[in-house]
Point group: C2
Chain length 357, copies 2
């Protein structure tokens, strides 16, 4: 049976001041109906009902996760006491799935991406499941066809097509985030895909791979999984999980495995990694501005404006900027400088204004 | 005796969104201790106590004026039912003063200028009063020595010094707001002063001048002044005042009178006509930013930041901008484009958002 595992460990600092420490990106409703985590669960629901849906999140976000996803069983919301990257997160979920369903297939997806249309996503997952039916040992990644020379994503060089599968390919190699020149080469070459962080594989396969490559990690996870269904499971998870090494599933398994394949995803995908995503995902007006909320502008061009509630944001002579208003904080930034939001947050902390983080 | 007449009819749209229709500039405390109107009354208080202080204001601002100036007698707060420029305002005040003091000397001052230091202002008024003692027919203007080729002010070309007076001069002519080239010529010539809109004269003198040049205006004002001290004074003022022609005291009297003299004012003066005044009147930090309120900036230079209450304004890569946050509206504008605030307010009205004006 197919199960959905939603990784919801993100801190979402890049959407400050709308995202905060206690309200990361996956909880925001900036991009379509419902929050990103609600959309993530929703688009998987025809594949795996809520009682086959699992969420892995951090302690600070457990309450909000439960509130936003009332249909997901409380026992399926796995609370990490601290972040240890994706390998422990996925390994823990795999062991939990296997306890309920030894034949479980896992769809692993981040909580905070935008994917459209849902029908294409569902069809792609079904292609991946069909591939696993014939090749149960495979680790299937979703690769996104690049539409620009993005430097912010890892790339996958695809090789030969898998026999009998529909646009599923061997992986020649993983490539780290490239510089612009290399990214342009990748784009022109045509056989490179973005690593979406969406995976489909059998739970027993990924556990076996982790046993092979990360025995220490599996030892810790087994100490936890022994208590699945017990009253002290959550307590054991909280106590033992910090002992996991912090490592990504890519680095722990995928980049070394011969069984990895990449499925060319047919859907629109955006990891909404910064405020400029708002302009990609919402229409622009005749001046190139993307506006959410109340705004009046004079000679304002190519700006992204977000205003919460009934607050009015006004701009005069502003070009290529993002203006974000929230109840207690406002950001005005050149669109080019968004990457500096992290630096800004450090400066806010240094100024003793932690209450705004 | 010297009486103070504070003209408080300003709408202060240029300080939107801090100033609003119901809270124009004179009520704001952006520039030093207390609001501008409190500062204006305060700096005159050693010259004329509160019971010799008069305020002329609009109906919309009468309550706030009374609240901010509890020491000024209610009968001295003259409420114009509509704006008719400065000649009717000054003529009305002159008639009211004469009813209390036939020998009254009027110090007329706008409510919304910044003047520092107070001691120099007091000394200048005393020089003007001394000049009037010797030349009771004179209309004494305060002229400001220009420190830049400003194009937003009227200029006064000064002539010969008045015998026996300390830097009080005949007026050769009034010059309207010049273009930049002419303003630079004025600055270099050295005998041009800015028209500050601050005047000292005998009340009977200005009434006589108005009788000569604006007989229709004086007819209307006399219909009002007949009721001074009566229970129906306020009602009469409200009914009759709209019949006054709308005309400035400069155009009605000063530009045609041979008795005008200009006193070279020794004090610092700023009419705080736009947000850039904030940078002139407050210190800048090492990046050239002027900050009032909570602000954290990354690569932010030559900006003026105002944030109300505990709201945090943050900026990244912003140069030469003003950012103003208030509870229900925010302005982000290039400093060059401040004059467009008026255009912005029209656009806000056109968008049906009058509640923000």
């Amino acid at each position: 049976m197919l199960h959905t595992v939603v990784m919801a460990g993100g801190s979402g600092t890049r959407f400050w001041p709308v995202s905060r420490k206690d309200l990361p990106k996956q909880f925001l409703s900036l991009f379509g109906a419902g929050s990103l985590i609600q959309q993530a669960v929703g688009r998987c629901r025809t594949l795996a009902s809520d009682d086959r849906t699992w969420i892995v999140t951090g302690a600070a976000h457990a309450v909000e996760t439960g509130r936003q996803l009332p249909g997901v069983p409380a026992s399926h919301i796995l609370v990490e006491p601290c972040g240890r990257n994706t390998a422990p997160c996925i390994g823990l979920a795999a062991l939990c799935l296997l306890a309920e369903d030894p034949d479980a297939v896992m769809l692993v997806t981040p909580a905070d991406h935008v994917i459209q249309p849902e029908t294409e996503f569902v069809a792609a997952v079904e292609r991946a499941v069909a591939t696993l039916d014939r090749n149960p040992e495979k680790l299937c990644l979703f690769g996104i066809v690049p539409d620009r020379p993005a430097t912010g994503y890892g790339y996958i060089e695809r090789g030969e097509p898998l026999p009998g599968a529909n646009r599923v390919f061997d992986v020649v190699r993983f490539r780290e985030k490239p510089n612009l020149e290399t990214a342009q080469d990748f784009l022109e070459a045509g056989n490179f895909l973005w690593n979406s962080g969406i995976f489909v594989w059998r739970a027993d396969t990924i556990v076996r791979e982790l046993e092979r490559t990360q025995p220490e990690l599996i030892r810790v996870l087994n100490r936890i999984s022994e208590h699945i269904g017990d009253a002290d499971f959550a307590e054991t998870l909280e106590r033992e999980f910090p002992d996991c090494p912090s490592i990504s599933i890519d680095y722990a398994v995928l980049e070394h495995s011969r069984d990895v394949c990449v499925l060319e995803a047919p859907f629109g995908w955006d990891d909404v990694g910064s405020w400029s995503a708002l302009a990609r995902l919402h229409p622009r007006d005749e001046h190139g501005n993307t506006v959410l909320g109340q705004h009046v502008g004079i000679e304002t061009e190519n700006c992204t404006i977000f205003s919460s509630g009934s607050h009015l944001v006004t701009t005069i002579g502003l070009h290529d900027c993002v203006v974000v208003h929230t109840d207690n904080a406002t950001l005005v930034a050149k669109l080019d400088d968004e990457a500096q939001v992290k630096e800004l947050l450090k400066a806010i902390e240094a100024a003793g204004l932690e209450e705004f983080l």
